[in-house]
């Protein structure tokens, strides 16, 4: 009994000593902490190579944020609001940038990084707030329409022409296949809704600069109703599979890889993933720009990605911006695309022969990014997104006659502080 107690006491003393040990390098080189979203190791590699390139001016260390964007925002917002000095570089998901920029949590972008020539349009938009660049585009993500060539051929659908949602819904019904879409109660649903509304020529948020109690939403419009119609049809017809109400990007990919796969809207990460998990599907794989809602109007594909910001309370803002300049160099972006499957925001990187070889759809991605429409940019994005998720879920309950109006009422009430979310 006593021996055990002694062991426990000893172990805890050791552990306590461990906590008191300082973790600074002690060699005088400032350490910049880069808070990254989880990926396949690419950002850590870039951190290492930029540390080398810095030649002793600074050292970049990565620190992992949670897996989903909403949790990343939670972490960063709390710490920035508490004036955390250790937030040097942050990988930020675009929709949450206005919320951090508005209260001045982000350090201003220096002039030499403000030049956005050669950066795809979608990425520039997502990195700005109040007509000002507040973050630096790193990589830009977009969803493509992936399809099984065999299914498209069997249906006689000409994929060299832009296709519409109606068309792919029809083909899936005729061929008794399933569509890979993300109907889960998550950010992916907002991505889908936004893409549909924007493709139909509308906007979810009419006036991003308004105060929360004066905001106007553009859901109760023809565009909103067209979007609700598509989601409702896919949901109630079962075309999304029985897992649709909880299907995230990964689940859609699995459905697409299966026997009932036909069409899927998803981010380019699926290409290297499928090459690894289902090479026979890759032989039958085609890709195109996001489907249109209206045959005559170009689609507005979803835009995502990561932009880099520097914390306003960081102890090394100048060094941090230098590091950012290194991280977003076209060479690093191309390398990141090839290794991690996350497309560059810099147009020049697409011409890199390695990129073209590994990702034959690189040009489609670039085209898609230029067409893309970002999600509503407002400091209250979280409320709008979750409000949309609450009211447009599950997909089989979405009704063009009621859902746009109901969700508008709910979201505005939440923004006015009259309802809980």
């Amino acid at each position: 009994m006593r021996n055990l107690k002694r062991i426990v006491a000893g172990a805890s003393a050791l552990a306590l000593a461990g906590t008191l040990g300082a973790c600074s390098a002690g060699d005088g080189v400032p350490t910049l902490t880069w808070y990254i979203n989880p990926d396949d190791g690419g950002q850590a590699e870039i951190a290492a190579s930029c540390t080398e390139a810095a030649d002793g001016a600074y050292r970049i260390e990565t620190s992992l944020l949670p897996r989903d964007a909403a949790s990343q925002r939670e972490q960063l917002a709390r710490r920035l609001a508490a004036s955390d000095r250790s937030l040097d570089i942050m990988s930020l998901d675009p929709p949450f940038i206005p919320e951090l920029a508005e209260p001045g949590f982000l350090a201003p972008v220096p002039d030499d990084l403000r030049n956005t020539d050669g950066v795809v349009q979608g990425a520039v938009q997502s990195a700005s707030w109040n007509d000002e660049l507040v973050t630096v585009p790193f990589w830009a993500n977009t969803q493509l329409l992936w399809y099984r060539k065999s299914v498209a051929e069997a249906a006689g659908l000409d994929m060299t022409q832009p296709v519409t949602w109606d068309q792919i819904i029809q083909v899936a019904e005729e061929q008794d296949k399933k569509l890979g879409v993300q109907g889960a109660l998550a950010e992916s649903l907002t991505v889908w809704i936004n893409a549909l509304v924007a493709s139909a020529g509308g906007k979810i948020l009419e006036d991003p600069d308004a105060k929360p109690d004066e905001m106007q939403l553009g859901l109760d419009t023809d565009a909103g109703r067209a979007a609700a119609d598509i989601i409702g049809r896919i949901g109630s017809s079962g075309l999304g599979g029985s897992g649709l109400p909880t299907a995230d990007e990964n689940a859609s990919m699995n459905l697409f890889q299966g026997e009932e796969g036909s069409f899927m809207v998803n981010w380019p990460f699926v290409y290297p993933a499928m090459q690894g998990a289902a090479p026979e599907v890759v032989d039958d794989l085609g890709w195109a720009v996001y489907p249109r809602v209206d045959a005559g109007t170009p689609a507005a594909p979803p835009v995502g990605g990561i932009n880099l910001g520097v914390g306003a309370y960081s102890a090394h803002t100048d060094l941090a911006w230098q590091a950012v300049a290194c991280i977003v160099s076209p060479e690093n972006q191309a390398q990141y695309f090839v290794t991690n499957g996350n497309p560059p925001s810099n147009a020049a990187a697409y011409d890199d022969p390695q990129v073209q070889e590994k990702f034959p759809m690189a040009d489609t991605i670039k085209e898609s990014l230029d067409l893309g429409a970002p999600r509503p940019q407002t400091p209250y994005y979280n409320e709008i997104s979750i409000g949309l998720q609450r009211t447009w879920h599950p997909p089989n309950a979405v009704n063009p006659d009621t859902t746009p109006q109901d969700s508008t009422d709910f979201i505005l009430a939440v923004l006015r502080g009259e309802r809980l979310l």
């Binding site: 009994m1 006593r2 055990l4 426990v8 006491a9 172990a11 805890s12 552990a15 306590l16 461990g18 906590t19 973790c23 979203n37 989880p38 990926d39 396949d40 190791g41 620190s63 992992l64 949670p66 897996r67 949790s71 972490q75 709390r78 710490r79 508490a82 004036s83 955390d84 995230d248 990007e249 990964n250 699995n254 981010w267 990460f269 290297p272 993933a273 690894g276 998990a277 991690n340 499957g341």
Partner: protein, 282 residues
């Protein structure tokens, strides 16, 4: 010493079998998931069609992609839980001794406070504590978790130990003194051996509680400097930020569960006696 009839024996075996299945099945289930390949996950069967140790390699072997997520988290959990348990048991022992042995005003208040603290919703405490820890510099540190963990473990430790100490016949100590021992010797020779099992059991119970925490872990930490295992499970990644790492999470779950199961198996008699004497005493 009545011999059991066969029907009785069979009934008991059946009952025990049912209990075993009920209690161990979920652990078995997630263990099986941890041995499945990423493709094999969708076989829809309990047992893996193809067995693999890849998931364990991912989290444990050097070079595994989740290794630098899991091992630091494991270290954090073990260290923080042990320290919190140690401090809680020491403080609770002193407190429970006072309650059981001495008569002083406010005993009731202490016990009631312990009870009130134990039913406190953690969610209510987290944000103010986060702000305070940021200002004081305890955010994302071991100490920043150890202190809230004390509030989790102290109440039940005090109640359990108080119940244990009440059962100790204090007259033994007086008898030893009468026999010529100094007060300290008397204490050491009579009270300590009787109290030790109770203290040990309380330590186990307190450790389980600290080990189990989730809300503090996700709210008061941000890097692997202090993040414990349950919180780290929400960070596990697959090959991309979109893939759900079912295999890795299952493997991690098993790694943190097996030692606990071993502790339960070895010390089940103590835990049972500790919890049954600690809660309701006639």
């Amino acid at each position: 010493m009545r011999a059991m009839t066969w029907p009785q024996r069979i009934t008991w075996i059946v009952i025990i079998a049912v209990v075993l299945v009920w209690s161990l099945f979920p652990v078995f289930s997630i263990a099986m998931t941890s041995f499945k390949t990423p493709a094999g996950l969708f076989s829809g069967t309990l047992l893996p069609e193809e067995w693999t140790l890849d998931n364990y390699a991912t989290i444990l072997a050097p070079g595994g992609s989740a290794q630098d997520l899991f091992l630091p988290a494991l270290r954090n959990s073990i260290g923080i839980s042990l320290i919190a348990t140690f401090i809680a048991v020491v403080l609770a022992t002193l407190c429970a001794y006072a309650i059981a042995r001495l008569d002083f005003p406010g005993k009731r208040i202490i016990l009631t406070t312990a009870l009130a603290v134990s039913v406190f919703p953690i969610v209510s405490i987290v944000t103010p504590l986060f702000n305070l820890w940021r200002v004081v510099g305890l955010y994302d540190t071991w100490l920043g978790l150890i202190i809230p963990y004390l509030s989790l473990t102290l109440p039940i430790s005090i109640w359990t130990l108080a119940a244990f100490f009440r059962q100790i016949p204090w007259e033994l100590e007086q008898a030893a003194q009468v026999d010529g021992a100094t007060p300290f010797e008397a204490f050491r020779k009579t009270v300590v051996p009787l109290a030790a099992p109770g203290v040990f059991t309380t330590a186990i119970i307190a450790f389980f509680i600290a080990w189990n925490d989730f809300v503090y872990g996700i709210s008061l930490t941000s890097t692997d400097a202090a993040r414990p295992v349950p919180a780290a499970l929400s960070f596990f990644t697959g090959a991309s930020q979109f893939e759900e790492p079912t295999g890795a999470i299952s493997a991690a779950a098993i790694v943190v569960t097996i030692p606990i199961v071993i502790v339960v198996v070895i010390f089940q008699r103590r835990i049972v006696s500790g919890l049954t004497q600690g809660a309701v005493k006639g």
